[in-house]
Structure formats: structure tokens, C-alpha cells
Symmetry: C2
């Protein structure tokens, strides 16, 4: 925290950054003006020990301020930032695997204090470790705080920011951090609908907004960048502008945090280097077998299906999944080596502001608890993450020769003859569990089963073992190869 | 044709190109040495009228040769080269739509004269208008002609080419041209298996080979470039080399011909600018609904599933599709706005060289005739090509509001209640045909049906019309909106 000029327009007239150094490690995050003559530079060290810093600025009083601090070891529960690991998966900086089990509450940070408390309480009880949330207010957000000074679309001052808006947003971010929930912060969206005109600001203001957000939020270890929600529905922006937002983030974020862009109907080129993982809207991709893995194969990055329609009772089909279907989609994503996002949208009389998706509040669906069960299964599985094990066995995910999950979806089999794709040596032994993904139960099959190759493509039980199943949907089989 | 130096090594010592000019239009194709002191520069003009040329060379006798010729109008049946049209589809230069209905005969051009005649006779009877064929001999190709002078892997002279090899290949290309069949020429492949060592030559030789092929084949209007078959199975090459092959093609092909690279297990980044369309191996992508379109959405280019397993009776699963399944996969591709490739592989005693896939010869499967029927349906449909019309109706392709094909695959419905995705105005009238994709019959439904919107997502018959179907698999419904 530094004191500096409060006059003029510090947001555009004052440049500030600081070089943080420890041995050969150097980070140069930008600082920001926090109002009332106060300037800040935030920094997230990535190594224990003494860090030295020195500020840079075009203003004399902010320039050349030096100091040092000791970065101590992380507190319990702080695993550091999440990054991509093993091409299609994620891990914390301390080495622990991170399994994205996310939900979406676009506007929760813009709501009343009561509603925010309710949301945080819901999240605390929930299995979610990731949340998608919007920065820019949207038509239905009913907020009285705005990122720019002003009261309505007639009088915004786009040359400044309103620090009060960001103070509130950061309080919300800190609450999520305390819960161990990653914040997937969405910069732009197409939901202004003429209300505030925030989707019509000049490109240069958008870039300044991105830099200000990065300077403020970038040092929060749990923050991810989502360039936009349904980017292609924001018809005021060209594809070249989306690319330039991505490049700006890559340039100004000193940490290379996770960064994605969420599509509407048009798929972004997720091979762009500033994109760390594909954030995809496509419910049908996880509604049936063999689809989810294709995005993974095309983009060769982690895939999170951040919008697959929502559990709820709206008339629109994007908001009327049953809890069963929502849970089914999470499992489809899992066996394909991808991840799925949750939300809920409920119709309740005339009050439109009542659903978890837009506002947070209470979780009322049936699926959210089941995500916790899936998260447990993920955590019990291989720490490097699973994926498709064979091109032609669409209902099996795993790691060849080690671990398999066979998932039956809406089918109701009464039995499953032990049958895995090739890749397990003859004589290997395995333990098998029957998983009821809906009742959230794991039932071990007694004993150990020996496997043998059958023909060119199959591995079966040496004695033709058959597992009895209860003729209910949403059953899965977990096979762990021993030795 | 020019005469020039025959001594030394003309393949590396002589550079030759010619500038062809008509008004502001300029092309500068490279020439090539054809042996025995003969040099050639081939050119494919793209406009009628007088073209002037002037050669360039590092050899005095080949330099500054000028001349002109009159490009007359195209002969009947010559529609010019094919290029991408309407993002996901293809068209000839004269404006006619091109519907890829392709087959694969990797090695047919390397076979005996008898076998080649047989292949050409089969193609003449077939509906195929595209063929994938390899340039570099492969382990089982049993050829006595090689692109490099020499007899075995011990004595190839990689600094030269053997024009006789290319003369044969070009005769084959010309025969295809006469049949109106596009030649998808595959430069590299992983099937050498230590036989010739052609997969181990230095990068610079590969680049020279590409340039020589482009100089020789580039002026053939029906030639496409396929950088490799199953590129990732060729483990001697790094990804950066594949990229550099693509860049070399883009640089040396003055016409910007169609160019793709065919994958094994690893998907190439088909967003690279030198890739005009995705050439994909993935049988499961077209084995069921909702998969094929995903590649299309990711790459935003035409998608040709050039390998979806083959009709045949091999023990390996890539070679034992039934004719029904092969045909089914073509239709799955079609309703997704993509295209599928055919081939056949039959086991016949010990003679390994007998299958259409590797050698050509006779078509013996059941599916190839059905591709002709599908091609007729394509040709009767909208000339700009069709695609998925709605995110959630995976069995329907078409153009919203104009044309729909509902395909039932392996299902055996006894009836179909008229039901289309939203996007047809109330009161629109349509004609409906019942298509039996296996029996190759179109049966019009009598009369005209009026449509009306039902709810948010459906358009149905105004009187709840129901179409009776014969409870057989592979049925489709074609709906053409009138007015």
C-alpha cells in the first residue's frame, strides 16, 4: 500500500508496478489505484523465503519504493494455485490433484448481504470446489454497485473505476478462498441487454478493465480468468477482439493463471496459446456416450463442460434437467476424462431473481449432493486423472492396465460380464466395486478376480465372471488392477 | 517442355520456375527435371484468355524462355478444381457443388498393369468421386518402381528422383481425372516398416520430395494434398516437422489446393492455416448420433471422416464392418454436415495383396452401391450443403426452414410423428419422402403437409400427421419446405 496523487485521474494518469525478486525469480505485477490517494501492488509469491521489491511508476512519490518480506510456508488448507497437469487434468501447486467439481452463480457477488451469506452457507455445505461468477453487472443483477463511477447508462465515467465495486467483489473472492473454492471470474458476457451499456464500451476501456481486474485479483491464488460467457452471443465484439483480450491477459497476468473462454453456439479456437483449458457449453456432449472425449482430442487441453443445461423446472430446455440427468452428465464427463459444471434454475412465480444460477441463495436440486459422491470417487481414483482407454469402448474411462470405470448411464443392466478393453496382462488380478451413482453407494464385489485376454480386443474374467446388477439406471463398475 | 543440362545432378543443381501472367493475375509454379535433359513447368490457368510466361532458372539455357498460349473454355465434364465452400462444404471452380463420396486404395498406382486396369474399371462403375492414394511405396506394395533411383534400402540415391516412378503415377492420376475422380494424394505414411527406409530420410529430402510432387502434380486440377496417413504413427517425425511440411506445401503450391493431414490416434491441430479441411480417422464418430458434428464445430472447416473402419471380414476390428454399418456411417456423417470415406478389406487365404484398401482390384462389398444412392440424395438436396440444425436433435440434418433429413440409423420405428426442430414458420407447407437407405428407394408421402409451431422447440404437422415406417433399420425421412 502506497500513498500517491489523488487529484486528476489516477486510473489513467498514473502507472505503477513493482518488481518482486528472489534470486533469479522475478515477477512484475501491475499495481492499481484504490481510491482516496491509496495505491496498491499485490503479489503472490511462489516460493518460500525472502522476496525483495522495488516499485516503478511515472510519479515520483510512487517510484523506487523498496522493501522485503518473508514468504512463510503455506497454511494448512492452502495448496496454492491450480494449473494444468498431465495435459487434460489439473493440480495444485503443492502437488495435490485438483478435481474440478464446479457450479455457476453468475451474479451472487452483486446481491444483497443476506443473499450473499446464504450463498456462502450453501457453498460451505456443498461439494463444489469451483464457481463461475461474472464481474460486469448484467441486466437482471439488480446491483447498486458498478465498476465505473455513475448511476445509469447515461452518465458512466469509463475513464475511471469505482473501487467500492471491487472492494465488494474481493470480499466475495476472499470468502470463496476461505472455503477452498476456485473462482472462475468471467470478465464479459452478453447479458447487458441495453440496461447499462457495459457491452458497448470501447475496446481500450475493456483492456483497461482487464488490467485493473488482473492487478486487483491476480494475486488471489484461487482466481481463474474466463474471458467471457457465451462470447459469440456478444455481437458487438469481433473475433479479433476476443483474441486480443486473451493476449492482454497473457501479457499482464504475471502468473499465467488458468484462462478460458466460454462459447455460446460458436466454438472458440481453444488451441490459442493463451487458452489453458476449453470451457465448453454443450449439454449434448455429455448426454450420451462417445461425445465428450472428442473436444478433448481436438483441443488437447483439459475440457470443462461449464454449461450442459441446468437442473431445474424452467420451460426453456437449458433450465429443466432432472437431477438424474444432471448427475448423469457429470459421470459422462468423468469417464471421458473431462469435467462438468453444475447449476440450478427454478421457476417461482414472478420473482425472477430466485435461482441459484443467477443469484446464488439455496441449493434446491437433487444433483448437487451426488457431485460430492462423484468427487469422492475421483479422489479415490488415480491422482493423474483418467481418460478414454479405448477408441471403441465408449462407456469405459480409466488408465489402461490400472484402473477402469464402466458407466451404464440410463441403461438398466441386470448383469455385467467382466469385460475390459485390451491392455491388461494375462493373469492380472483386480478388485471390483459396484457403484450406485444415484444412491451414492459403493458395494465391493467379494474376492479378487483374475483376468485373461480374450481375442484381440478384450480382457475378461478367467472364469467368465459375471457381476449382478440391480436393473437400475446410473450404475457404474469400478475395477482396480492389483499388483 | 525445355531442354537443359543432363549432366551433374539436375534435381539439386538446377532451379526452374516460370511466371505465368494474364493481366494482373500471376502464378509462379516451380518446374521439374523429368530425366534425359528434359525440363518441364506445368501450369493450371484459372481463367480463359491469353496467358504469357517467362521462365526463371539458375541455368542460362533454361532462363528467360517466353511464350504465350490461349486458355480455351473448359471441356464438358471439366468443372475445375474443388475448393472449400460455405465453410463446411466443397464446390468446383465452375460453381457446381462437389459432394465428396470417397474411397481409399492406398497402393493401387503401384500395382501391376492388370490390377490397375481392374481398379479403373471398378471405379468407373462406382459412385466414388474421390480416392485416397499413397505416393511413397510401403512394405506390402510389391512395387518395382521407386521414387528414388536404386533397388533396395541399401542403395537409394536420395539426392535424385526416378522420373519413371512419377510417369507411372501420373498416368494413374490422368485416368482418375478422366473419370472425374479427385485424387487425394498422400505424401507420407507409417507403413514402411523397415522395408525401404523411406520413412527415415532426412527432412531436407522430404521437403525436396514435396516440392517435386507439387511441381509435377500441382497442375492437375483434381489433385488434393494429404500430408500423411496416420501421421502420428510415423514416430520418426516430430510435430514441428509436420507443421513444416504443411508450410512447405502452402508455399510451393501456387493454387492453394485442398490440403489435409490424416490422424492415427492423435488429432492434428486442424486449425493450422495450411489445413483446408479436417481428414479424420475415427469410426466411432459416425457410429452413433451427435458425435460427427463436434469435430466440425471445433475445427470450423469441412470434415471428411477418411477412415471409419472398412467393410470387410478381417479379424481386426478396423477391417470388419458389415456393409450395413459402413453405409450407416456414411449417413451419420451426412446428417452432421460432414463426409465419410469408404474402403474394403477382405481376408482371402494367404494372399495378402487382395483387398481393395491396399491394392484396388474389384469392389466386393455391399456398401459401395449405397454410396451412390446417398450421393444422389446429396445432389438432390440444397447445393450449399447441409448441417446440424439444432443442438438437441441429433438425428436431423438440413438447413433450417428449408430442408431436413431425419435419419433413424439402427432403430426400427414403425411410425414417425412429423416433428422438426424450431425454425419453420407457422403455416409453412412441406413435402415428405420416406427414404430406405439400404434398399435405395425413395417413396414420396402423398400430398402436402402444413406445419405449425408446438411449444418452444418443435414444429409439427398441423393435424398431428404421422408417417408410417416399415420397422426396418436405416430408414430416413426427407422434408422439403415448399414456397
Amino acid at each position: 500500500m502506497l500513498e500517491g496523487p489523488a487529484g486528476g485521474n489516477p486510473f489513467v494518469e498514473v502507472s505503477l508496478s513493482a518488481e518482486f525478486r528472489k534470486g533469479r525469480r522475478v515477477f512484475v505485477p501491475e499495481g492499481f489505484y484504490d481510491g482516496e490517494g491509496v495505491y496498491k501492488v499485490r503479489f503472490m509469491p511462489d516460493e518460500e523465503g525472502v522476496w525483495r521489491y522495488r516499485t516503478k511508476s511515472n510519479k515520483r512519490e510512487l517510484r523506487g519504493v523498496t522493501g522485503e518480506f518473508l514468504c512463510t510456508s503455506a497454511r494448512a488448507g492452502n495448496h496454492g494455485p491450480v494449473s494444468v497437469r498431465n495435459r487434460h487434468h489439473f493440480g495444485y501447486a503443492d502437488g495435490q490433484a485438483y478435481w474440478p467439481v464446479g457450479t455457476t452463480c453468475y451474479g451472487w457477488a452483486l446481491k444483497t448481504a443476506v443473499k450473499k451469506r446464504q450463498t456462502i452457507a450453501s457453498l460451505r455445505r456443498s461439494p463444489f470446489n469451483k464457481i463461475r461468477m461474472i464481474v460486469m453487472p448484467f441486466a437482471g443483477s439488480r446491483t447498486r454497485l458498478f465498476p465505473f463511477p455513475g448511476k445509469s447508462r447515461e452518465d458512466w465515467d469509463f475513464s475511471r473505476f469505482d473501487p467500492r465495486f471491487f472492494h465488494n467483489y474481493e470480499r466475495c473472492l476472499r470468502q470463496l478462498m476461505a472455503l477452498g473454492i476456485e473462482a472462475d471470474v468471467i470478465f464479459f458476457h452478453p447479458y447487458d441487454k441495453g440496461r447499462y451499456g457495459f457491452d458497448m464500451v470501447p475496446h481500450s476501456v475493456n483492456i483497461r478493465f482487464l488490467r485493473y481486474c488482473i492487478a486487483r485479483f491476480g494475486a488471489f491464488r484461487h482466481v481463474w480468468w474466463s474471458i467471457a460467457n457465451e462470447f459469440d452471443f456478444l455481437r458487438t465484439r469481433k473475433m479479433s477482439e476476443w483474441d486480443s483480450f486473451g493476449r492482454a491477459i497473457a501479457k499482464h497476468d504475471p502468473y499465467g493463471k488458468l484462462c478460458s473462454i466460454h462459447n455460446g453456439a460458436l466454438m472458440y479456437n481453444n488451441q490459442q496459446p493463451w487458452i489453458t483449458h476449453a470451457s465448453i457449453q454443450n449439454g449434448s456432449a455429455v448426454a450420451d456416450f462417445g461425445r465428450a472425449r472428442i473436444y478433448r482430442d481436438c483441443f488437447r487441453k483439459p475440457v470443462i463442460y461449464d454449461e450442459v443445461c441446468y437442473e431445474g423446472n424452467l420451460r426453456v430446455r437449458w433450465g429443466n434437467l432432472s437431477g438424474e440427468e444432471m448427475t448423469h452428465r457429470f459421470w459422462q464427463g468423468y469417464i471421458a476424462g473431462t469435467y462438468v459444471g453444475h447449476s440450478e434454475s427454478w421457476r417461482k412465480g414472478l420473482k425472477r431473481d430466485s435461482s441459484w444460477l443467477g443469484s446464488g441463495g439455496k441449493l434446491e436440486g437433487k444433483s448437487w449432493r451426488r457431485m460430492g459422491f462423484l468427487r469422492r470417487i475421483m479422489e479415490e481414483g488415480p491422482q493423474e486423472g483418467i481418460g478414454p482407454v479405448d477408441g471403441d469402448d465408449m462407456c469405459v474411462g480409466g488408465i489402461r492396465g490400472r484402473y477402469y470405470v464402466v458407466y451404464f448411464g440410463w441403461e438398466k443392466p441386470g448383469r455385467w460380464k467382466v469385460d475390459l478393453p485390451r491392455g491388461v496382462p494375462d493373469g492380472a488380478r483386480c478388485r471390483i466395486d459396484i457403484i450406485d451413482t444415484w444412491d451414492m453407494k459403493v458395494k465391493p464385489v467379494r474376492g479378487v478376480i483374475t483376468l485373461k485376454t480374450k481375442g484381440r480386443y478384450h480382457v475378461v474374467g478367467a472364469n467368465g465372471e459375471v457381476i449382478r446388477l440391480p436393473r437400475r439406471p446410473f450404475m457404474a463398475i469400478r475395477i482396480r488392477i492389483l499388483d
